[in-house]
């Protein structure tokens, strides 16, 4: 069952009264090229004299490099050059990162390796086969050091230290305090405490990292073609590491990226490494990461341990939260980390009205792969902890888990609502969303089914989760990683905001081209922009050509550019709307000059600009365009020739964190509520999803078909992390999931069908009322699955406080009850 989103007409604001295409499931214009094998992915690009790189990687989690001898590799036929980690240390600078901890991170191990898979050397050769042959010929001698693997072990005073200059393994530590937490706990009727473990996984794109770097020795310009997807703040980080001016580092991103889900934002260390190799080799160098490299050494989300304590009133009202979080960011705290901790800061309380929150957050470094953004970034972890506590409260107070949540939801009349951490929820009606999911799932009947199943000794569970989906990051949120006194220093440049631009052009015969630089990875931006522009200009989407290729040398861009944090549906679309409106205004203005009619009196109807008061006075848009391009004589002096417009959209409420660490960390905030039904097989430990109900509020839905795709894909990433996927390491720091047999991604057989429902609370902040939706169920699915499995296992007295719930873990919980479950 799919409950259709409400007709967008009623949901939209005045400007879209005439919308024809926004709100429709328009087929994607990207598809024909992708369906016929004509897409342009980085690996499809060839350049003259292009050579190929392969990377030698550390087999050890923690060791000093005693020596490295590339001479045999250099002598191997077909090998152009070898770049070692020591050279990387000489030829580049450590990556900047937004924390005070003084440690050094380079694109390859300089004198010490700190995780299995860390680059140690790069071979450049005539082809990849030869480059890999040469890897086997490089001789490296290591002196092993004891590894640190688990997050809490990193804090042990006796633990090995990864970065000696730091003296400990703490990359970042912040204590954040909002409201009166001690008061809330003093007045609580009930205090509950729990320890949670959240695993490492990756939403893992099917296309791996890909870089082609070309250095022009005459100009010093480094041109990089890659599948980097933003944020382009990492362009600055890359330029700094390469020690070149930002305008001499050109990033080009082709029209097609084979998925990313945040993971490809962390490609930039490889951009530095391959660029250094290209500089040394004196020719373009291509590096296509292979799957093993990707699993070992690209990026993923943190694994983390969290202790959460809640203060509750007897009626189920949540009054306070204390949260101690230890995030494992791996061997190097790599920008934009420690954003994992701070990205969800504004929406830390989800849809609940709790006022008093204390967060004691550590980002620790261990001998694992460095982490970075991953779909849902930071949210699935907090909602897992939050929703497990909601279930505990329900259990303790003998309330229905739905009811406990209802009692804590922020009422619709209080929205816009400011959370204690400074997040400003722009629109929403959480009660209504909860009502819908309860109604869709026939919740009471589900409980009856459960009762019957339990009589048959079957393990049948119903899970519930809600969450707030933050979209469009305020770039300033990350600076909460710095103490307020550092942010207050005179030389410090505060950070805030989020912007996107669009460029539109009408050519001499009235046809329209739009240029975007949003680095889409499958979200269908070209299609969505064509829908929007067609509506704004009263033309057909077919008449709009959209190009979405990034080039830092050609486009106007921002450090916030890119597609991450579900930003396109809010900020990218808004830029397109503004650009189209700007163009339209210019057409009217020009028509006004040509017709000698006031601008207020003109409208565009069916391709003609016509006077409202005198329909005799009209001119075709085509003629206006022709004049603007061909006959500049008729243009008033204050009108630019041609018909181009560039517009920038930015949110007004984006300010830097205040001295109390409060920040509106995102801009538009959606809502989701999930009910998940599972059955657990006692013999195998397998969790089967029987049914799933998912309600979403992402404001105005621009293309329902694409939205459905985002929800399905997002949900499966969350489910994958909850049930199947884990980047596991053994206690010695060896990575155990280096291939697709061990890193288990769900396929069409395992993927559940969803029953999706929509409510619509248009955002007051965007011209179309739209919000992001790309991460929604990714954030709530793990919590929903955990809630359902816990509910299924409740008769056995089993608690769930750890993911993934793979068969091995679930079987062990059922058959080998542990006194303490770590």
């Amino acid at each position: 069952m799919v409950v259709a989103p409400p007709k967008t007409k009623t949901a939209k604001k005045e400007a879209q009264e005439t919308s024809k295409y926004v709100g429709q499931s328009v087929k994607r214009r990207e598809d024909p090229r992708l369906l016929t094998g004509r897409g342009t992915f980085v690996d499809d690009i060839k350049m003259p004299n292009m050579h190929h790189a392969a990377i030698l990687r550390s087999p050890r989690p923690h060791a000093r490099i005693i020596s490295i001898d590339p001479s045999k590799a250099l002598a191997h036929p077909g090998v152009t050059t070898v770049l070692t980690g020591a050279e990387v240390g000489d030829k580049s600078l450590p990556f900047p990162v937004g924390v005070v901890a003084p440690f050094k991170y380079y694109s390859a191990a300089v004198d010490k390796v700190r995780y299995v898979g860390e680059p140690v050397a790069v071979v450049v050769a005539s082809d990849r086969y030869v480059a890999e042959d040469a890897l086997d010929l490089i001789e490296v001698e290591y002196d092993p050091l004891p590894p640190v693997v688990k997050p809490e072990d990193a804090l042990d005073p006796d633990a090995a230290i990864l970065h000696e200059e730091l003296g400990n393994n703490i990359g970042c530590h912040r204590e954040l305090d909002y409201g009166d937490v001690d008061g809330a706990f003093a007045e609580a009727d009930l205090i509950l405490k729990e320890r949670f473990v959240f695993p490492r996984y990756s939403s893992l794109p099917l296309e791996t990292y890909a870089v082609i770097s070309d250095h022009d020795a005459t100009t010093g310009v480094v041109t990089v073609r890659s599948n980097f997807m933003g944020p382009f703040s990492m362009h600055a980080v890359t330029a700094r590491a390469l020690n070149i001016d930002e305008n001499k580092l050109r990033f080009i991103v082709p029209s097609d990226i084979g998925g990313s889900f945040g993971i490809k934002s962390s490609i930039y260390p490889y951009i530095v490494l391959i660029s250094l190799a290209a500089i040394k080799a004196g020719r373009p160098v291509k590096w296509i990461e292979d799957r093993q490299e990707h699993l070992l050494a690209s990026s993923c989300q943190t694994d983390r341990v969290a202790y959460r304590e809640v203060a509750v009133k007897n009626d189920g009202t949540l009054t306070g939260i204390k949260s101690k979080v230890i995030e494992n960011v791996g061997a190097y705290l790599r920008a934009p980390e420690p954003a994992c901790t701070f990205r969800p800061i504004g929406n830390f309380v989800g849809p609940y009205k709790v006022q008093n929150v204390r967060i004691d957050a550590y980002d620790v470094m261990t001998n694992k792969c460095p982490t970075g953004p991953n779909r849902g970034y930071g949210c699935q972890q907090i909602y897992f902890e939050q929703e497990r506590m909601m279930d505990h409260i329900a259990e303790e107070l003998d309330l229905d888990p739905i009811e406990v949540r209802r009692r804590n939801l922020i009422p619709a009349e209080e929205i816009p609502y400011t959370t204690p951490m400074g997040g400003i929820y722009d629109s929403g009606n959480y009660q209504k969303g909860m009502d819908l999911v309860v109604e869709m799932s026939q919740y009471e009947k589900l409980r009856q089914k459960q009762e019957e199943a339990r009589k048959e000794n079957r393990l049948f569970g119903i899970g519930i989760a809600t969450g707030i989906d933050p979209s469009v990051s305020n770039m300033g949120y990350i600076t909460v990683a710095l103490p307020p006194e550092v942010r207050a220093k005179p030389g410090y440049l505060p950070k805030s905001g989020s912007a996107e631009s669009a460029t539109i052009q009408m050519n001499q015969r009235g046809k329209v081209s739009v240029s975007m630089n949003t680095t889409p990875q499958g979200q269908g931006h070209e299609t969505v922009v064509s829908q929007i522009v067609a509506d704004e200009l009263g033309i057909r989407p077919e008449d709009v050509v959209v190009i979405d290729e990034f080039d830092t040398a050609k486009h106007g861009w921002f450090i916030s550019s890119g597609t991450y944090a579900s930003r396109f549906a809010s900020v990218g679309t808004s830029a397109a709307v503004l650009a189209a409106r700007k163009l339209k205004k210019k057409i009217i203005r020009l028509a006004s000059a040509l017709l000698l009619v006031s601008e207020d009196d003109l409208v565009i109807e069916g391709g003609t600009v016509v006077s409202k008061s005198d329909s005799e006075k009209s001119i075709t848009v085509k003629r206006v365009a022709g004049t603007a391009h061909w006959n500049l004589e008729l243009l008033p002096d204050d009108i630019e020739a041609g018909l181009q417009a560039r517009a920038v959209f930015r949110f007004p409420s984006n300010v830097a964190p205040d001295s109390q660490d409060r920040v509106n960390s995102s801009n538009t905030y959606g809502f989701m509520a999930e009910i998940c039904v599972v059955e657990v097989d006692r013999d195998s430990g397998e969790v089967k999803i029987i049914d799933w109900f998912s309600v979403h509020d992402a404001g105005t839905v621009i293309n329902p078909m694409l939205m459905e795709g985002q929800i399905y894909g997002g949900a499966l990433h969350g489910i994958g992390g909850a049930l199947y996927e884990e980047l596991s390491y053994d206690d010695e720091g060896q990575m155990l999931a280096g291939n697709f047999m061990q890193y288990v991604c769900p396929t069409s057989v395992e993927a559940p069908k969803l029953n999706i429902g929509h409510i619509c609370s248009p955002s007051p902040l965007t011209p179309l009322g739209s919000k992001g939706a790309g991460e929604s169920s990714t954030e709530t699915a793990p919590a929903a699955v955990a809630s359902a499995v816990a509910d299924a296992l409740r008769p056995l007295g089993i608690n769930i406080n750890e993911l993934p719930l793979n068969p091995k873990k679930v079987w062990t919980l059922i058959h080998e009850p542990q006194p303490e479950n770590n």
Binding site: D136, D683, S684, Y724, N806, P807, T812
Partner: protein, 295 residues
């Protein structure tokens, strides 16, 4: 992930192949369907000096009935097991179990002989071969020998094949009437190598008393596992829940499985018993059904 260099030979006959095997011995690796070998080469977990590609060797891809047995050429693709009418009518267990082996794309290339020789301890075909006392027809320049599945499988990915030998045919018995079969397995995903699997056949007499029972399990030992004392419990008995329970318990007790990333030893030990019961129940139901059909 590109393979290291190797010397490539693509003989057209068994004789040529055997000469090459004799010449290169341990340095050579036979390439059949390649669904296990090529990943190993791509990861450079193996870098054999010589690859002998037997895809062009004639007369290794066939299914025929010989001396009351179903003779399957070593290069017969797994897809053939799924689609061949002869396999379905003579040894339906093979047809039914094939859907559990990988995916259509791997079965189109993967071969019966390749899977058997690879001897992965969780490969379905090894269990069927062991349960049904399949015979391995093995040749070398020295001649031909026939070996039982029981002797053939030695340990993890190890058989008793000598480097100069090759498997050319596997002979499965034609399943008798009044027989039912099943292959029950638990895998993390559809098409994955099993965590644990149990294949069974049950033959019943007119009174639904079990006259023959066979059972082999995968994922619980270094090779497929079969124990006659487990099968004996069934023979001469009516297949009741009680009997199934006893078989399951006995099997669980007999196996000594291993721990790995995806399942614990205790879990495998438990699961093999549960799957044995499910498998036997299914086989019995089918045997009853098949008996009625024969009447």
């Amino acid at each position: 992930m590109k393979p290291a260099k190797f010397e490539y030979h693509d003989p057209h006959s068994i004789e040529e192949t055997l000469d090459l095997l004799k010449q290169y011995g341990w340095d050579a690796k036979i390439l059949a369907g390649g669904q296990s070998l090529v990943p190993t080469l791509n990861f450079r977990l193996a870098s054999p000096k010589v690859i002998i590609d037997i895809n062009k060797v004639k007369d290794l891809d066939y299914v025929q009935e010989t001396d009351g047995k179903l003779a399957i050429g070593a290069m017969t693709r797994q897809t053939t097991l799924e689609l061949s009418e002869m396999v379905r009518s003579k040894c339906g267990l093979l047809s039914d179990a094939t859907e559990l082996i990988g995916h259509p794309q791997t079965r189109n290339r993967g071969t019966v002989g390749g899977s058997i020789v690879h001897a992965d301890p969780t490969a379905e075909l090894t269990a069927i071969a062991l349960a049904l006392d399949a015979e391995m027809v093995i040749v070398s320049t020295e001649g031909k020998r026939t070996d039982s599945a029981d002797d053939f499988f030695i340990s993890v990915m190890t058989t008793n094949l000598e480097p100069e030998e090759m498997l050319v045919e596997v002979r499965f018995p034609v399943l008798p009437s009044r027989t039912g079969w099943a292959f029950e397995e638990f895998a993390l995903r559809h098409g994955d190598f099993a965590v644990v699997g149990v294949t069974t056949t049950i033959t019943l007499d007119a009174d639904e008393v079990c006259t023959d029972a066979r059972l082999a399990a995968i994922g619980v030992d270094e090779t497929a596992f079969r124990d006659s004392s487990v099968e004996e419990i069934l023979k001469g008995e009516k297949i009741t829940d009680l009997v199934l329970q006893e078989v399951g318990d006995k099997l669980s007790e007999k196996v000594d499985p291993f721990d790995d990333l995806h399942a614990s030893a205790a879990q495998r030990k438990h699961l093999v018993g549960a799957l044995a019961k499910r498998s036997l129940q299914k086989a019995k139901t089918m045997a009853v059904h098949n008996s009625k059909r024969k009447k």
